[in-house]
Subunit: 359 residues, 2 copies
């Protein structure tokens, strides 16, 4: 049976070079080495150096490895918030960070919009310690305009700004120097197996953790920012982490640098437009996100006439795996990922196939 | 170049069937599937069913997947301790759990012994909420006798007992029904790539988490025991976890069941004796753990005459990778893992090689 192509919004198709890298890793026994060995340190350094170049991350920002983006929410709460946070919520994931803060006893506030739009007319208190938003809400196919983030930066210079870039980085450009923290997991746009989160922070986040600790609060143990920094300076993790994924991240980011981030981003635009056009023109599909300027280029959502499961099943039989709607939208939508591993030709093929289907 | 054999005490040699399973996983696109798909649920269920059979885990105990054993310490603290814990400490890892508790604001107490022995003449307060010990202290090559654990169980019926089985399970037998929680990571005796922790708990742990939460304390968010249980009932994780490792764990535990746990354990005894005999008889090696009854069968430590780096390098050139001493013992010891993947023949070969070396 030929392999299926996964257009699911994460986990998704592996980056097209991963299989080859993985076979090489087996041959070179990367899966057996110590996580604090020179060899593992070299992968750690290469992965962070490549990420800095690929995403234009300032030199004085730090990159740490966690188990997932989900874990990052908890670590941001433990390290960077004492009392108050503010969350822009417009889908499952942006809301979940808010929920985590509440569960950890933070007096969190949010501005909420329903799936498919973003909050408007909200007031962020000047004394909030951290402001969060998702660059791309994977559950709702909504992009949060980067210009809005920069405006919040200017109007709230004292708050830390933490951006969820899970299904956006590195395909969507964000000026990291204008936020304090950004994070993502590797099973979306980076096309790696699931099981690794990447957390970018600046020194303001580290200073906040120091202040929180000095004030007598716990900032956790092995994933406390000072401990993450101490180990990262040696290119070492704080626990026996997923060495294989660090190796693969080093290799895939090298491949992406060779291809060029500008090429990846212009292809992302082109593929996004193709998919948007498909939804525009197909008689049985319609845009879930009404405001064109908010439509994601990496996770395109189409509301389906009739149950979306019929679409998913029909496409699966032809070898194309697309995602279902998220949470309350299950059965009503298909979600299509257009990540860097998805070639223009694959997206064109998918568009042709869907165009030819009437259910 | 022929492959090296890793006798390091974790990460260590892959279980000898892993490479084949991994190639099959690539072919079957296991690395691309959704972590909440039916397919992933089946791997989750198979892995937990197999573990229950392999380790004779009672039916009413629950198995959850975390990112590492290190994470388990934090989750035990968050969920199962309000004020007081007691830690038996005799090496880097048993001490680290105590350190984590202190960092999380717990009034933790410990009974400490230096590397190479275990605490004696200690009093565990009757009102302690949780008692911890490591079945096998990987850093010190010390085994904690299971009979001691059972005695603590009888003398402290109200406390929760949590056993670190990291470099012991499933090679070393522990009656899980006589403790409340046990945990391990998969890169030791299970021979998997690093990046997955397994946490076993009984209902007393869950009830404790409920009581802690009801008393107004935070028990965390996604890794809170009630949330782990809610998801595990559906055979689902609480975050986008390492699906590949769940698949490999299901396959390797099936292989171990086919081989038979009794065979694995009797081979562990035999290999342990071979390595102990080597240290007994080699003129330039001596036992670090003086009390024979405390010597680990899975991580054997030999103090070396002269710097241990010379031994490690000489063996590495011959294709055998052994571990260095841990922490303050670096340069003074070699640590040799004898895990289920290490065949009797491999251990015999290693013993022959080391016997023939004089440095």
């Amino acid at each position: 049976m030929p392999k299926k192509i996964f257009f699911t919004p994460g986990p998704s198709a592996l980056y097209f070079t991963v299989e080859e890298h993985l076979k090489k890793a087996l041959k070179e026994q990367v899966l057996e080495i110590n996580h604090r060995s020179r060899q593992a340190e070299a992968y750690f350094k290469e992965a962070t150096d490549n990420l800095k170049e690929l995403m234009n991350i300032p030199d004085d920002y730090h990159i740490f490895f966690l188990s997932s983006a989900t874990e990052t929410w908890e670590r941001l709460i433990q390290n960077c918030i004492i009392e108050k946070s503010f969350h822009l919520c417009y889908g499952a994931f942006s809301n979940r960070f808010y929920d985590f803060a509440i569960k950890h006893g933070i007096a969190a506030q949010k501005a909420e919009a329903s799936f498919g739009s973003i909050p408007t007319n909200y007031q962020i208190p000047q004394d909030t310690e951290l402001i969060s938003m998702a660059l791309n809400e994977t559950s709702a196919g909504v992009t949060f305009p980067v210009e809005e983030i920069y405006k919040i930066r200017e109007s709230h210079p004292d708050a830390l700004i933490a951006v969820d870039g899970v299904s956006a980085f590195p395909a969507i450009d964000l000026d990291i120097s204008r936020v304090d923290s950004a994070y993502f997991s590797v099973q979306k746009c980076f096309g790696l197996p699931a099981g690794l989160g990447v957390w970018i922070v600046n020194n303001r986040c580290l200073e906040k953790a120091d202040r929180k600790q000095a004030a007598g609060h716990s900032i956790g143990a092995y994933q406390a920012l000072p401990n993450l920094l101490k180990n990262a300076k040696k290119h070492q993790p704080t626990y026996t982490f997923n060495v294989l994924n660090i190796y693969l991240l080093a290799r895939v980011t090298a491949d992406m640098l060779e291809k060029g981030i500008d090429v990846i981003r212009s292809e992302t635009n082109y593929k996004g437009l193709l998919l948007q056009h498909l939804v525009d023109t197909h008689p049985q599909l319609s845009h879930f996100v009404e405001d064109e300027s908010l439509r994601s280029k990496t996770v395109v959502i189409a509301s389906t006439e009739g149950p979306s499961e019929a679409w998913i099943e029909t496409l699966s039989k032809k070898g194309f795996v697309v995602g279902n709607g998220y949470g309350p939208h299950k059965g009503k939508q298909i979600r299509i990922a257009s990540f860097p591993t998805h070639s223009k030709e694959q997206i064109e093929l998918l568009v042709d196939i869907i165009s030819s289907i009437t259910l």
